[in-house]
């Protein structure tokens, strides 16, 4: 169950950044990476556990990472993880937009698709963010990560049972975000 904030429409999420000697940041940093699954926006983890893993794997350039907590108003978010109707609408819209590019003989990239949706659809439709179930990964094959169970089969081959959702949330603007504060400092 997602941790609720001041109302049922507010959930508590986590934002991971490099530890900064000069001090903490006052607000989340917008992600503009072309590889961002849901395009340009403010990204958060719903579980503290995954916020820590993100720090360990990708936010260690200063030798440590910080985790910030935040409340997000998800009233106008597509919740593709727990809302069946939202999930099927999202799936259909991604496929329709992608196919529209293909039919018009235009190349589709992840970045182009999300920019197209952000520029022409989400704002007009009043959608302020998306809650999304990301792929489970363990890029550095770190042991003892509890979101997967290692299954040792009889033929000694290992496989992983990913039983936890790795939920991300993107907010396209900063208006839905409040109570941004340092939660865990200088982790490694």
């Amino acid at each position: 169950m997602m941790l609720r904030g001041k109302t049922d429409n507010h959930i508590i999420c986590y934002h991971t950044q490099e530890f900064r000697v000069e001090g903490v940041i006052d607000e989340p940093i917008i992600c503009i990476s072309k590889d961002a699954w849901l395009g340009k926006g403010y990204y958060f983890w719903v579980d503290e556990e995954f916020a820590k893993y993100w720090g360990e794997d990708f936010k260690m350039s200063t030798g440590a990472y910080d985790v910030y907590s935040v409340e997000v108003d998800i009233t106008d978010f597509l919740n593709t993880v727990f809302n069946e109707k939202h999930y099927f609408a999202f799936k259909k819209w991604i496929e329709k937009a992608s196919n529209h590019f293909i039919k018009k003989n235009k190349t589709v990239t992840l970045k182009r698709l999300h920019q197209f949706l952000a520029d022409n659809f989400w704002d007009k439709m009043g959608i302020k963010g998306i809650i999304y179930d990301d792929m489970p990964i363990n890029v550095n094959h770190k042991p003892n990560r509890k979101y997967s169970v290692v299954i040792h089969s009889e033929d000694k081959r290992h496989s992983f049972f990913y039983y936890k959702k790795r939920i991300q949330l993107v907010s396209f603007g900063i208006d839905n975000i409040s109570n941004f504060a340092l939660h865990l400092e200088e982790q490694n």
């Binding site: 329709k96 590019f101 920019q115 659809f121």
Partner: protein, 78 residues
């Protein structure tokens, strides 16, 4: 609360308004914006200029010259 049924119709309406030409216009706009963002972020950007080709347009012809000269055709010999 999001009304998904209403949004679904709205999505289709917006998408169907994107003809091939309109999509290309958006792609051109998005690419230019991306380049400008790279510039503002301090990334190096290659700037290429299209080579200018001379274009010749006839602004006067011999008939017009004769008209100007009137009967004094010798004026054209100068």
């Amino acid at each position: 609360m999001l009304d998904i049924d209403k949004l679904d119709k709205q999505f289709d309406e917006i998408l169907s308004s994107f003809s091939e030409e309109k999509i290309q216009q958006w792609i051109d706009f998005a690419e230019e914006r991306e380049t400008m963002e790279c510039l503002f972020n301090g990334e190096s950007v290659n700037i290429s200029m299209e080579k200018l080709k001379p274009k010749y347009v006839i602004v006067s012809n011999s008939d017009a010259l004769f008209e100007k000269a009137g009967e004094n055709n010798y004026a054209l010999a100068a």
